[in-house]
């Protein structure tokens, strides 16, 4: 093979090798892109929590309470007082409390002095910790009570003030613009769903003190609800 022919062959081999390689790689990429276009990526979409304790029954009650006792903007309801709460829940006090049993990890009991609606330091601390540990929950319940000491009407008002104190503290501390859409407020006085001693085991702002049902019901029960409606 003369020099010219050798040179030509080498040039052609060089051109062919680089051309075929680059052409093949590039066409393969174009084919893959065409194949993948229009296919939705398999990525989860951000959403609020919906835990497995959110049974159909719980959601029904939840919806009813939020609609009737929530603070939803535009709604006339600004919380539920005992008679309304009983009607809304449409169940016994014991059954109502049992609804919250699965929420033991997400709930806390904010305790008050006798005949007082003032939050002490331990109360605000537990309230702040509980409210800031929201995770993916959509709704926050504040269920205030009073012990049977005193008149029914007085206790009704007292539990209302306790619930309001909790709510005002949350609003002042966390300035959450969605609070009207997410909080369900009930004040039960001494008339409905009193807490029994089993709730002594739950997180309480006065965990170090003696626990009896009188002390336990001078309280606001708070809980995040990880359910989507």
């Amino acid at each position: 093979m003369n020099a010219g022919m050798r040179h030509l062959v080498l040039v052609l081999v060089a051109f062919a090798s680089v051309g075929i390689s680059v052409g093949t790689w590039t066409r393969a990429a174009a084919t893959r892109m065409a194949d993948t276009q229009g296919k939705a990526p398999e990525v989860a979409t951000a959403a609020a929590s919906d835990m497995n304790y959110c049974t159909g029954d719980l959601k029904v009650i939840l919806k009813r309470v939020l609609t009737s006792c929530g603070l939803v903007a535009g709604a006339t309801s600004r919380g539920c007082q005992p008679l309304q709460a009983r009607q809304v829940a449409a169940m016994s006090g014991g059954d109502f409390n049992a609804l919250f049993t699965p929420l033991s990890e997400r709930a806390a009991i904010i305790q008050f002095d006798n005949d007082s609606a003032d939050l002490d330091a331990a109360a605000t601390d537990l309230l702040d910790k509980t409210f800031s540990d929201r995770r993916g929950a959509s709704y926050f319940f504040v269920v205030s009570r009073a012990s049977p000491t005193g008149s029914v009407q007085h206790n009704r008002d007292l539990s209302h003030r306790r619930g309001s104190a909790v709510l005002e503290h949350i609003q002042a501390t966390f300035q959450d613009p969605d609070i009207d859409q997410e909080v369900g407020l009930l004040w039960l006085g001494e008339e409905f769903a009193q807490l029994d001693k089993q709730f002594c085991q739950w997180r309480r702002s006065r965990a170090g003190s003696e626990c009896n049902t009188e002390e336990l019901n001078r309280s606001s029960f708070i809980a995040w609800i990880d359910c989507r409606l």
Partner: protein, 415 residues
């Protein structure tokens, strides 16, 4: 065409062994530049690909995490040119491939000939100077601008140096000029002919690449926008920026892709036109219920620190980017270890991190993500409330940004 054999017998001092060495280095350059080009071109399909970052091309573990030096260099703004004109730009490794193929071809052509004129070695020195100069420039860029070393690139640097040294040795070992008669024809004519061949060998892969690369349809830019772009929770972090075009970046401070993306955006001329606000989206189960396992453990604590820092948020974010590996490792051990590290580094944040107020702000940040129904991934960029496709946040960033900033509504298919 004039070669050594065409003219009278000329200088024959060029050692063939040196030419064999030159051919071997050129072949190594072909392989390394080929691997680099292959990896780059594979990403033109806008998907994620594992690449092998090894001094022995093709061998070694596949990098799927994007943590290797090769991946960092590949995704850096320096791996290609003309990125605003064509999606991904033209990879630097592609002309390198053409140059090494040309050098291999020249070496083989000379080896197979009987006589080699001295002017051949002069041309070889000139031709091999190009890759060695380019390698010097790119090694400096790699070390100073990207801050990492790509093993495949090192292979190209070594091959470049090898062919250059071999060309010099071949020239020095050849007979002195004028000692023997050079083959017929002018040296400039011969060099011009070789130069044209070299240019053609570089141009061929470039033209094929541009002709065959996947088309980018503007319809791909029609991604969803933010449903609720307003910052009613006060969670957006405004780090300023000279630009005027409003943009929102959703990021996780311990996410390697976010760090790389921020660097690409900072290096991008188009990125300078954005006024960027950040929304934190830590993919850490300590605060984020949307992830079953922490993808970036420690990210919740670091995100708290960024929110706590206020006007110094940028400093905390840059620190977190710089220490991502350490912080993730500590986060994997315990959240408390990350808090302790943050407090050591930024003592002024001690009274803020871990407290209910800032935890609530992180939660609001996550709720902003939920309110906008965003995919659970980072980073995400919204320019003028329009999402840049996730597939275009790396190689295609400059091209897509230029389309979006220009309006990006023209119909038809662009390169």
């Amino acid at each position: 065409m004039t070669t050594a054999e065409n003219g009278p017998r000329g200088s024959s001092g060029m050692p063939r062994k040196t030419l064999i060495v030159l051919a071997a280095f050129a072949l190594a350059g072909v392989v390394f530049a080929g691997v680099s080009s292959y990896d780059f071109i594979a990403h033109l399909d806008r998907q994620v690909h594992a690449i092998t970052c090894s001094i022995v091309p093709g061998l070694g573990p596949k990098d799927t995490s994007g943590a290797s030096g090769c991946h960092a260099v590949l995704m850096s703004p320096y791996s290609s040119v003309l990125r605003e004109l064509t999606w991904g730009g033209i990879p630097i490794s592609l002309p390198a491939l053409g140059v090494f193929v040309f050098l291999l071809f020249r070496a083989l052509d000379l080896l197979l000939g009987k006589r080699i004129a001295r002017r051949e070695t002069v041309f070889l020195i000139a031709a091999t100077a190009l890759p060695v100069l380019t390698s010097i420039v790119y090694s400096i860029i790699s070390l100073t601008m990207i801050g990492t070393v790509c093993k495949v690139c090192v292979g190209i640097y070594v091959a470049s140096l090898g062919v250059f040294v071999a060309a010099i040795v071949a020239h020095v070992g050849s007979s002195p000029a004028g000692a023997t008669q050079e083959p017929g024809g002018s040296s400039w004519g011969l060099w011009g002919f070789y130069f044209v061949e070299g240019v053609a060998m570089v141009a061929l892969p470039l033209l094929l690449y541009l002709a065959l690369k996947p088309a980018y349809a503007d319809s791909l830019l029609g991604g969803s926008g933010l449903r609720h772009p307003e910052d009613k929770y006060g969670v957006m972090i405004d780090l300023g920026g000279a630009g005027a075009v409003p943009a929102v970046e959703v990021l996780d401070p311990l996410c390697p892709a976010c760090k790389a993306f921020s660097e690409r955006l900072a290096a991008s001329e188009k990125g300078g036109q954005l006024h960027l606000e950040y929304v934190l989206f830590p993919l850490d189960k300590q605060c984020n219920w949307m992830v079953g396992e922490s993808l970036h453990p420690g990210a919740c604590a670091v995100s708290e620190a960024i929110l706590c820092a206020g006007s110094r948020a940028a400093a905390v974010l840059h620190w977190a980017f710089a220490h991502q590996d350490d912080l993730r490792a500590q986060g994997g051990q315990s959240q408390a270890a990350v808090y302790a590290r943050i407090k050591r580094q930024f003592p002024e944040l001690e009274g803020c991190v871990g407290q209910p107020a800032v935890r609530s702000r992180i939660n609001k940040s996550l709720r902003w993500i939920v309110a906008n129904s965003l995919p659970v991934l980072t980073p995400q960029l919204f320019v003028r409330n329009r999402k840049l496709p996730d597939e275009d946040t790396d190689l295609g960033l400059d091209y897509v940004l230029s389309r979006v900033l220009a309006g990006g509504t023209a119909s038809g298919v662009r390169p």
